[in-house]
């Protein structure tokens, strides 16, 4: 194996699993330490720079960071990263002196954003302080997009949305609300230097089975129905409700139904429980509110009487191999099952919808009728038009929209200055020793053995009484502090210097998780098998040194390193050092 290249940030960035997994590369351990120190506003600002909506994401994020968390492999539960983010947002205090000021002068460039959801707001936040005039168009009465229209208030209070959307609008972009853009061609004709499309995936998929048209009055498209609830147009639903679908929208639909008069609410899903797209915690929350989930049932037809919905027929399916040997959900042959209900909510997926984009404006669409968009530039084949969020690559979630927004803003800035959008700016990286004394570090290296803290919930009877009562109460100071101590500080890297090593084995002997081995070099697949503990997790890299005086190399498996720093404390020559790796993505206007 070749020695690991630590000059490039990639190896150490991958070690910080949470930051690596976060689409916006939020430096998670950095802000968790700030929370531990009581620096809630600082923690909020670290988040705000990376993900723009810490309070919103702290309640709604899909949390790709948590399954990636090293703690999950060392113990069995990840650090409650998302809850800590929310805690920082709840306790940040006054930030008026920390937010960037609106640009003093216009730089002469104007950018239009179609849609005022998380992607567009991110573009506006990154570009407005640089002097761009940014104009956001949205069909709704307030900015926020799906954050405001689709996420129920009991998960995300309106004040939180208002505040964080407000931080962006305070930077000076113009909001043109209640205005649906009907023609991109027309928009291109106006004097905009660039156009960003952040219109999301606004169309909920319908279910075209017999009875759909006849019972239409009681069959609702999930995201449209949620939006109507959010804007106060719908306040009631029938007593018996069936929600079709197994994603997060379905979970929002069933829980909202429980608060609008639905007493007998059930979720019915085509797939098995494990394969459902909803996050595990969202399924848990729904079941906690007395909502059963029925699996392996495919809706076949709606039953109705006198134009009124009476129920749904389902076919039973199971995972079975077909003639081609491929496993698929196939009918079991058991008799169909009928469920009675008063209303049905269809939450079986979302689609993009671009009827307003003309096909003769030099903007290519692919075979799935999606715009052709550069994966890193977010630029379409019409160089003036950029895409981001769900409208770029299909439905994902808020944190991806934010990440797209940052990258699109970089591209728009490069484009407006006549530079190549393909040349991406490198991230800012610092790697600094944390050594304060012989065995003192500027981070708390004592590993807490505690288990993950549960977040306190509003009592169910109170929670179900109002669609606006927030269910999760959030951590208090004590819980938050205790949870911060579970973070392993994976960004404090074990950095090895081969010339200083005398091969005394002290690090090997002290390492609690047997990460370090001094051994003959070889082929990676073979080296992995003969380490002190076999390195079987292939998603985690090996850190390999150059050749040492005995001809061996140092191999460290990064997989379950606790970052306790004991290797460095026991090293007599300082060949090991604990160095904090801080990677900040470069946003628009940086690194010019």
């Amino acid at each position: 194996m070749e020695p690991t290249n630590t000059e490039s940030p990639e190896h150490f960035h991958k070690v910080v699993d949470c930051q690596w997994a976060c689409p916006a590369h939020t430096p998670v351990p950095e802000y968790i330490r700030m929370i531990a120190q009581g620096r809630y506003a600082d923690a909020y600002m670290v988040n705000w720079r990376s993900n723009v909506f810490p309070g919103i994401l702290g309640r709604t994020c899909d949390r790709p960071c948590e399954p990636a968390c090293r703690r999950d492999r060392v113990e069995d539960q990840p650090v409650a990263i998302c809850r800590l983010k929310r805690f920082a947002a709840d306790n940040k205090g006054d930030l008026s002196d920390r937010m960037p000021a609106p640009a003093a002068n216009w730089n002469g460039k104007t950018v239009a954003c179609v849609g005022a959801g998380p992607a567009s707001l991110t573009v506006a936040r990154d570009l407005a302080p640089l002097g761009y005039r940014v104009v956001l168009f949205d069909r709704d009465a307030k900015g926020g997009g799906m954050i405001r229209s689709q996420i129920p208030r009991f998960r995300l209070p309106e004040e939180v949305i208002d505040e964080e959307v407000g931080f962006v609008t305070a930077l000076g972009p113009e909001l043109v609300l209640n205005k649906e853009v009907n023609s991109l061609k027309a928009l291109l004709a106006e004097p905009y230097d660039a156009i960003f499309v952040g219109t999301g995936a606004p169309r909920g998929r319908d279910l075209d089975v017999p009875g759909r048209a006849e019972a239409a009055a009681n069959i609702h498209i999930g995201i449209d129905w949620l939006s109507s609830v959010s804007f106060g147009h719908i306040e009631k639903i029938g007593r018996r409700v069936i929600v079709l679908g197994g994603g997060n929208t379905a979970m929002d639909c069933c829980r909202t139904s429980r608060r609008l008069g639905g007493e007998d609410v059930k979720v019915i899903v085509r797939s098995g429980f494990e394969e459902m797209k909803a996050s595990p915690w969202e399924k848990e929350d729904a079941m906690h509110e007395g909502i059963p989930i029925h699996n392996f049932l495919v809706p076949k037809s709606f039953t109705h009487e006198d134009g009124k919905l009476t129920g749904v027929w389902f076919e039973k399916v199971a995972w079975q191999a077909g003639l081609d040997g491929r496993k698929a959900l196939r009918p079991t042959g058991e008799p169909d099952q009928h469920f009675e209900c008063d209303d049905v909510l269809v939450a079986i997926g979302q689609e993009n919808s671009f009827p307003w984009i003309e096909r003769d404006i030099g903007l290519e669409f692919n075979k799935w009728d999606m715009p052709v968009v550069g994966e890193t530039t977010f630029q379409s084949t019409n160089p003036k038009v950029f895409f981001g969020g769900d409208s770029a690559f299909g439905p994902k979630n808020i944190i991806w929209a934010v990440a797209h927004g940052h990258e699109a803003a970089v591209s728009i800035d490069l484009y407006c200055r006549g530079q190549d959008t393909a040349l991406r700016p490198p991230p800012g990286v610092t790697l600094a020793s944390q050594k304060m004394g012989i065995h003192e570090w500027s981070y708390d290296n004592d590993v807490s053995l505690d288990e993950r803290r549960k977040v306190p919930l509003l009592e169910t009877s109170l929670a179900l009484a109002s669609v606006k009562a927030e269910v999760e109460l959030g951590f208090d100071r004590e819980l938050a502090y205790a949870e911060t101590q579970r973070c392993l500080n994976c960004d404090v890297q074990t950095v090895f210097s081969a010339p200083a090593c005398i091969e005394c084995d002290a690090c090997v002997d002290i390492c609690p998780t047997d990460c370090i081995t001094f051994t003959a070099n070889g082929d990676e697949a073979e080296v992995r098998t003969r380490l002190k503990a076999p390195a079987l997790n292939l998603t985690q890299d090996l850190y390999v040194s150059g050749s040492l005086p005995t001809g061996r190399v140092m191999v460290k498996d990064e997989d379950v390193c606790l970052h306790c720093g004991l290797c460095a404390e026991r090293c007599p020559t300082g060949a090991w050092d604990m160095q904090k790796f801080l990677l900040t993505t470069t946003q628009a206007g940086g690194c010019r």
């Binding site: 492999r73 060392v74 113990e75 065995h439 290296n445 004592d446 590993v447 053995l449 005398i502 091969e503 005394c504 084995d505 002290a506 090997v508 002997d509 002290i510 609690p512 998780t513 047997d514 990460c515 503990a533 076999p534 079987l536 005086p549 005995t550 379950v560 606790l562 306790c564 004991l566 404390e569 026991r570 090293c571 007599p572 020559t573």
Partner: protein, 351 residues
């Protein structure tokens, strides 16, 4: 030294031994020795050996004297019996403990100061009596706790950290042990666990006085150019006579080596030591030749390591004394005070 305890979290693949203990269960408290101390590597080797031998922690007693090396029993086998004696007196306390309870595994840990200076006499007598024990000397050739004076095992002509040349002759613990009748004699190096762990395992299974001289560089005071106990010196001058590749129980051995490459030593208790020869014609069961070989290589400036001598049919102190099989501390009042009639009988036999 380290202020935080070693975290309890272990690698998910960590396997238990036959008793259900993992290697981590054989650890002790976190070491307070200097970072990089060779002694910590020896502690790790003892932990590994005890784990692999499935030793029940409460069936082992670890005894030591005074010094850096004698502090180490605190850092391994935290669930075993321990006794920290006064300086140089570990061998007597160990002998007494062994006489009182012959059923425990005895591990004596000492240093070159504790065993070659103040405790030289104690060392000598415990070896010549054949006390059933494993006696490990963690030999760094320096008085580390008192900041680097030459010890009795420092080689003549070697230099201190400050550049002072040692004019006294060195005591060679291995030669002494051979001469005094130790029935298992080995030398190893803290920086070579592949060699050290099997030797400790074999010594713990040996019946009789097993002695291991383990060269253990003192990072703070004896790891410089001019030292003959430094990592660099030992690595350059190490001449291993054999490698103890496996230690097998009573199971038959399948030959894995060409004839002449392997020496098999069958011990009393049924264990078989498989030794891979590195030095041609070296026979570890011939004491006189071993002593000769050692002197010769030592004169040539080499540090001979490996299993240097083993008497597979060794007997121990209890055999010589003819004590009963039941440990003395388990005998009841009836056995210990047989009464006036028995005394009369003994007296009569002496008239």
């Amino acid at each position: 030294m380290t202020y935080i305890a070693k975290p309890k979290f272990a690698h998910p693949s960590l396997q238990p031994n036959k008793l259900g203990f993992t290697r981590r269960d054989y650890e002790g408290r976190v070491s307070t020795l200097c970072a990089g101390c060779g002694h910590d590597s020896i502690s790790a080797a003892i932990i590994q050996a005890a784990f692999e031998l499935d030793i029940e922690p409460h069936r082992l007693a670890k005894l030591s004297g005074i010094g850096c090396s004698s502090k180490t029993p605190d850092y391994f086998l935290g669930a075993s019996h321990g006794f920290n004696t006064v300086h140089g007196r570990m061998p007597s306390v160990l002998t007494g403990a062994n006489l009182a309870n012959r059923d425990l595994v005895y591990l004596g840990v000492s240093g070159d100061g504790d065993s070659a200076s103040i405790g030289l006499g104690q060392f000598a007598h415990s070896i010549r009596r054949g006390v059933n024990m494993t006696y490990i000397v963690e030999n760094n050739g320096v008085y580390g706790l008192t900041k680097g004076q030459f010890s009795a095992t420092s080689d003549r002509g070697s230099k201190s950290k400050k550049g002072v040349v040692n004019h006294d002759s060195a005591i060679d613990m291995v030669s002494l042990a051979l001469q005094l009748g130790a029935t298992f004699v080995a030398r190893s190096f803290s920086g070579d666990k592949e060699q050290l762990v099997p030797l400790i395992k074999a010594a713990l299974r040996h019946k009789g006085a097993a002695f291991i001289d383990t060269i253990s560089p003192c990072i703070a005071f004896n790891n410089h150019a001019g030292s003959t106990k430094s990592f660099d010196w030992v690595r350059e001058h190490n001449e291993a006579v054999n490698r103890l590749d496996m230690m097998v129980g009573r199971a038959p051995i399948t030959a894995q080596y060409a004839p002449g490459e392997m020496v098999q030593v069958h011990q009393h208790d049924g264990t078989v030591l498989n030794l891979r020869k590195l030095a041609a014609n070296y026979d570890p069961t011939d004491r006189v030749k071993a002593m000769h070989f050692l002197q010769e290589r030592q004169a040539a400036g080499e540090v001979v390591t490996g299993l240097l001598y083993v008497d597979p049919q060794a007997e121990d102190l209890h055999d010589s004394l003819g004590t009963v099989a039941t440990p003395l501390n388990a005998l009841g009042t009836a056995e210990l005070t047989p009464g006036a009639a028995a005394l009369d009988k003994i007296n009569a036999s002496l008239r």
